[in-house]
């Protein structure tokens, strides 16, 4: 429901009534075919928000060419007709007669069980603040504008040029923390969490466009705390991006060539001035006013940073507002992986109370009955696509269509501008029924992206979806032979002939469905495992929780408090009690998974426990085997009784150990074991943890001297607050870098002498300290490798379990039906672990919600008339899907049987069998051979 706002919300969790106001689009959605004629005729030009105001759009417009729904809309503020009843050029221009000026705002009330607020973010607008001179100097742009400049669909088609005079950019600078970590100028104390990363990305892409570009990034702390982010930071350094640790305060126009002049302090402490063609302000994120308004209407509290108020253990639940959930940038400055994870978590949290009414309002997609074409003579329909001019621009599509018409068994040939467009699908359906076609060849793009679309259309027109073959005349034809049109046309003919030959031999393969076991297995009894197990049980699914040790709780047992100061112990005990007492959860202590087989919906895992092995059938699996603290081999750890790891220090601190209670000087050393060549990743939680500990030490005894030696303080997002409070409390932060690490003298048992280089005074600085705390790295525990082998899961270079897609499927594995949560994925603080656990729960629920899932039809099939049980294929099958079975009624005679559920359709058996006794539907030997023959005819 686009162009719609929430006006008012009433009711309580489980039964909200929401009044919605839909603003008029002034375009009839059903009629508009997005041909763009109206925009061409519309006289009124307006700044295009999509291109950050860099480009222009018309009063009647579509947000961007690939917008969904792809329908035009009229901007009421700028439309001449709506303003003063004149013009109306678009009405005549529109071929479909879709313009309707008298559309009125419509109100609608809807009843829902829960609500999830994800109104998103607005980039900080640096205009009006003198020091950055954003709206003063043309060559000062925001990072989002740079994104548009670099994009092929942007105003300059990806060419980097100076906005002032269009001259190429030779030197470019990024200023970090514009509108973030800056209370006085921008009113935002928090760090937006994403600017460092997108600055690196944009710098790298800019260097792709102009390899010899000189790029400098001016930063306070380089915060690349996400998975694989540190590696990208290292790659940027290797690619020659220069990094300056200093905050540039003011910009002035350069004298001659219109560039920008700025001054900064080098790490030697020298004042230096430099000129750049382009300065990019890495603007932070903030809550847009519309979001704040929405929060008000939904009575959702916002914190001082105008982000939704939420608790550490219910990270997606709007505080004090049951039934209301928040996620994405509205809940805090998050990057895309974090937003997607939170979105899934919100889906889980929102659906938990409504478990009873699952499936109540949804309906299954129905298809018309399938026409049995087996008896019929093949009647092939060939649809040649122009794909705009992507194909027609190179290949002579008329000649191709004419050629196709003459091919054997071809009953109908048609050319379409966009075969994949929605309306052509309808056309396709009609043609199939009218011409009673029973085989379809689509000569267009790659089947990898568009085959599912056409299969849907075939199903919708009553044809078995497998009676289709696509001739890839675009990606492997017109696009790659643009200079040789005749050869491309010749090749297209061959490809079509091959497809027609194959499609004639295709037979309808019956859709295979298999039952989903309504139960789950959770591996790992830490916080992540507990939350996801409890969540799934609450949703009504029996869960088996496997914990290696004899106690539930995992790493959280050693944690003292969240970054917001909420005590961990209490919440952990309550979740453990809930799990152990839950009727649907079976806890297996001192147990581990020793073996597993099967696939989504039908896993069979073997759990090895104290009383031997038990077999568990489950539909989904969540891997939450956590991580462990790294035991450092440096800084005198283990040799000196006053050197502790962060977790050890926490224990001693809470127990009031004399060395801590009596201590006057404390030194924290950050990045011990992290961001090292052998572990090139940031453990994400140690900075916040050390800063919090330092504040507490200061609060207990203000006279204490507390030092934090850091490489980058990564109190990202709203954690910046803690860093600010630490500085106010007088904690001294000293920066060191890789090649001059702090050196120690350990000869005196009661005191450790720390020697470090002081950047401010530019001289060595000696600190005799009572206690030395090492912020050690979090490393994956060794169970990861074994679990990966059992479930055939990928492990990344650092040993953490590898998710399917960093951004779009952050908690899924590539293998369907298995999900990931907690430290096993990557080091993360408590509330992010809970979020990921809830997200895994939601993703698992999407599988368990179905009682049956359909397997794709590319499966191997035994041909009884040819197979004679010679068993050559049995051990070739990588999935052990082939067995030798006795034929009923003929004792002693055995034939090969293939378990369709286990078979993945790889075809290794077909390529081994010497008598065509087994074949993969859609890729049988005869079908491939027909293509070979057609190609060489």
């Amino acid at each position: 429901m686009t162009l719609t706002e929430v006006r008012e919300v009433s009711g309580q969790a489980g039964d909200f009534t929401v009044r919605l106001l839909e603003h008029p689009r002034y375009v009839d959605m059903d009629k508009c075919i997005a041909c763009g004629e109206c925009a061409r005729k519309c006289p009124k030009k307006v700044d295009d928000e999509y291109n950050q105001g860099l480009g222009k759009r018309k009063a009647i417009y579509v947000k961007y060419p690939q917008a969904v729904p792809l329908k035009y809309q009229i901007d009421p503020e700028n439309c001449i007709y709506l303003k003063n009843r004149k013009c109306g050029a678009c009405v005549q221009a529109c071929p479909a007669g879709a313009i309707d000026f008298n559309q009125k705002p419509r109100e609608k009330t809807v009843r829902v069980g829960s609500m999830i607020l994800t109104p998103g973010l607005k980039p900080f607008d640096p205009a009006g603040i003198r020091t950055w001179g954003y709206d003063v100097f043309p060559n000062v742009i925001t990072s989002l504008e740079l994104e548009r400049y670099l994009s092929v669909s942007g105003p300059t088609e990806g060419r980097l040029a100076r906005p002032s005079d269009g001259r190429p950019v030779k030197r470019m600078a990024f200023l970090q923390c514009v509108g973030s970590r800056d209370l006085n100028k921008a009113g935002h104390g928090y760090c937006s969490g994403v600017c460092c990363m997108y600055a690196l990305k944009e710098a790298m892409i800019a260097k792709d466009h102009e390899p010899d570009l000189d790029v400098s990034i001016f930063f306070v702390d380089m915060r690349t705390h996400g998975k694989d982010f540190e590696r990208y930071y290292n790659r940027a350094k290797e690619a020659g991006v220069k990094f300056r640790r200093c905050r540039v305060h003011s910009l002035e126009p350069a004298e001659q060539n219109g560039g920008v002049y700025l001054r900064y302090i080098t790490d030697r402490g020298k004042q230096v001035g430099a000129e750049y063609d382009l300065v990019v302000l890495s603007v932070g994120l903030e809550t847009p006013p519309s979001a704040a308004e929405l929060a008000g209407r939904c009575k959702v509290g916002l914190n001082q940073n105008l982000f939704a108020e939420r608790g550490g253990f219910q990270p997606v639940q709007a505080k004090g507002r049951p039934g209301m959930f928040v996620s994405g940038a509205f809940a805090g400055p998050h990057d895309i992986p974090q937003s997607v994870t939170e979105a899934s978590a919100a889906a889980a949290a929102a659906s938990l109370p409504l478990a009873r009414v699952r499936h109540s309002l949804t309906r299954e997609k129905r298809f018309p009955p399938e026409r049995d074409v087996r008896g019929e003579e093949p009647r092939v329909g060939v649809f040649v696509c122009h794909c705009g001019n992507n194909i027609a621009g190179v290949i002579d599509v008329e000649e191709l269509a004419a050629y196709a018409a003459k091919l054997p068994k071809v009953a109908h040939v048609e050319r379409n501008l966009f075969t994949c467009s929605q309306d052509t699908q309808e056309l396709l359906k009609k043609t199939i029924q009218e011409q009673s076609l029973n085989r379809i060849v689509v000569a267009a793009c790659t089947p990898r992206t568009h085959e599912p679309l056409f299969k849907e259309t075939l199903k919708a027109s009553g044809l078995n979806e497998n009676l289709l073959d696509m001739a890839n005349i675009r990606n492997q034809g017109s696009w790659v032979h643009q200079a040789e049109p005749e050869k491309a046309t010749e090749k297209a003919k061959d490809l079509v002939r091959m497809s027609v030959a194959k499609v004639a031999l295709l037979t309808p393969a019956p859709p295979l469905t298999v039952e989903v076991k309504q139960s789950a297995l959770v591996v790992g009894g830490g916080l992540a495992g507990l939350v996801s197990a409890h969540g799934l049980a609450e949703m009504g699914y029996p869960v088996h929780l496997v914990e290696l040790t004899s106690r539930l709780g995992g790493s959280a047992l050693h944690l003292y408090q969240t970054w917001r100061g909420e005590p961990v112990e209490g919440k952990l005990d309550s979740i453990i009690r809930k799990v152990t007492s839950h009727p649907l959860i079976t806890v297996h202590l001192n147990s581990k998974v020793s073996g597993a087989e099967g696939f989504v919906g039908n896993f069979l895992s073997t759990i090895q426990g104290p009383q031997g092995e038990t077999q568990v059938e489950h539909g989904v699996g969540i891997m939450a085997v956590g991580g462990r603290a790294h035991k450092p081999g440096e800084y005198g750890y283990g040799e000196h009784r006053r050197v502790f790891t962060a977790l050890e220090f926490d224990k001693l601190h809470t127990l009031g150990d004399s060395r801590v209670r009596g201590g006057k000087t404390f030194v924290f050393i950050q990045c011990v074991g992290s961001r090292e060549p052998e572990r090139p990743y940031c453990s994400r939680v140690c900075c916040t943890h050390s800063v919090q500990a330092a504040i507490e030490l200061k609060e207990q005894d203000p006279t204490r001297k507390v030092f934090i030696l850091y490489r980058d303080i990564r109190t990202y997002g709203q954690r910046e607050e803690v860093y600010r409070r630490a500085r106010e409390a007088g904690v001294v932060f000293i920066n060191y870098d890789m090649h001059e690490k702090p050196r120690l003298r350990l000869d005196n048992p009661d005191m450790v002498e720390v020697l470090v280089w002081d950047h401010v005074l530019h001289e060595p600085f000696r600190i005799p300290t009572d206690v030395l705390i090492l912020a050690t790295a979090i490393v994956p525990n060794d169970l990861n490798k074994e679990l990966a082998r059992i479930y055939k899961l990928p492990v990344d270079a650092d040993g953490f379990l590898q998710e399917a897609h960093a951004k779009l499927r952050p908690v899924d594995f590539a293998t369907d039906g298995l999900f990931l949560a907690g430290l096993a994925h990557y080091p993360k603080p408590v509330e992010e672990t809970v979020t990921q656990a809830q997200a895994a729960m939601a993703r698992a629920a999407t599988v368990l919600a179905k009682t049956r899932i359909d397997l794709d039809s590319i499966k191997a099939r035994v041909i009884e008339e040819r197979c004679d049980g010679c068993a050559l294929c049995v051990d070739v099958c990588p999935y052990h899907a082939i067995t030798l079975e006795e034929v009923q009624g003929e004792p002693g005679r055995k034939l090969v049987r293939i378990e369709a559920a286990k078979c993945k359709g790889c075809g290794c058996c077909q390529a081994t069998c010497p008598k065509l006794g087994v074949e993969v539907a859609g890729f049988t030997y005869e079908q491939l051979a027909s293509q070979v023959a057609a190609a060489l005819a």
Binding site: M1, T2, L3, T4, E5, V6, Q12, G14, F16, Q52, K63, Y64, A67, V68, P69, K71, Q73, V110, R111, V112, G113, S114, M115, I116, L117, T118, P119, G120, R148, S153, G158, M197, L200, K201, I205, A291, S327, A329, F330, I336, S339, V340, E342, A343, S344, A346, A347, A350, S351, L354, R356, R358, H359, L361, T362, A806, A842, R843, T846, A849
Partner: protein, 59 residues
């Protein structure tokens, strides 16, 4: 009385977070109202040209 439960959820905001939540809920068996203020869903991510780490298009 346990008040009547509505098996539908409203997701306000059609950005990447809104879309993912809507999909998970729909697959999970709930009716979803996805409410978007602007003319099309996609949110801020649509404006990004390439996304880290694989740099494939963010469409």
């Amino acid at each position: 009385m346990s008040q009547e439960m509505i098996g539908a959820v409203m997701v306000v905001g059609g950005g990447i977070a809104g879309m993912q939540a809507a999909l998970d809920l729909a697959d999970g068996g709930y009716y979803v109202y996805l409410v978007e203020r602007s003319g099309a869903i996609g949110g801020a991510m649509a404006q990004l040209d390439k996304t880290f780490p694989t740099n494939d298009c963010s469409m």
